[in-house]
Symmetry: C2
Subunit: 146 residues, 2 copies
């Protein structure tokens, strides 16, 4: 067992702007104007797709050598289906993604069999992917009134 | 039914640096030096926590009026437990988060009963939270060799 804790904060600013912070790094998420936001950044469900793709890409980098795969280029395209009626409280459907599809793009001179084994491995070793595929126990542990 | 598609790409750069793009917005995720990275940004599991907190914060903004809650300040602190032995392939444990705990910080002059109802509502209307709590069908739909 090597359980580690990771942390972040999300601070609501003007309108739907949110400043996300972790280990001193910051980024702004927001909603498009059509959703009532000011469009200063990607929105949280887009950031979720990006975190998933980035996690897969890092797993690819870390495990390429074990599979004897030389990575000349690697990127992930992701697309998710979300029924906005859930979030908008218009229908009794789930608020989250029902499905996320992803495509790997790989440029490599390595043996096809090695590339195939490598590609089959990546998805199962990705912490963000596993969190989404298996689900996570989410716990509201407190409400602090400032 | 109002199913929408959201998209993002994640492009592996030097080492563990990944450029995430969505609708023209970009951000860099990376790993800390201790994990073999160059520490140019938060890592994907931190970004996942941030996306969850930002999603909850936006839901808070959107639904505050319905609950008659004036939001003078709102932020979310998040912490997740992850056994790195899974990701490192050292033990047969899951790669992802086993639990994510979050705390709401709220500054509001509104009635306590309204604040309580509001706080109880937010988590269940959050698309990122629902995706994590219920899980998502992840599908590798293609491998394109460039």
């Amino acid at each position: 067992m090597a359980i580690e804790q990771f942390k972040a904060t999300a601070h609501l600013k003007q309108g739907t702007q949110v400043k996300v912070s972790s280990r001193g790094f910051e980024l702004t998420l927001d909603e498009p104007v059509a959703e009532g936001g000011t469009d200063l950044g990607m929105n949280p469900v887009e950031a979720l797709l990006g975190a998933l793709g980035a996690c897969q890409a890092i797993v690819a980098r870390v495990y390429a050598k074990r599979f004897k795969v030389q990575l000349d280029d690697f990127w992930v395209e992701l697309e998710g289906d979300l029924d906005s009626d859930g979030y908008m409280d218009k229908a009794d459907v789930r608020c989250g993604y029902s499905a996320i599809r992803y495509t790997y793009h790989i440029k490599s001179p390595s043996a096809q069999a090695d590339i195939d084994a490598f590609v089959a491995f990546i998805g199962g070793k990705c912490p963000v992917g596993d969190s989404l595929a298996q689900g996570v126990d989410l716990q509201l542990v407190g409400v602090v009134q400032e």
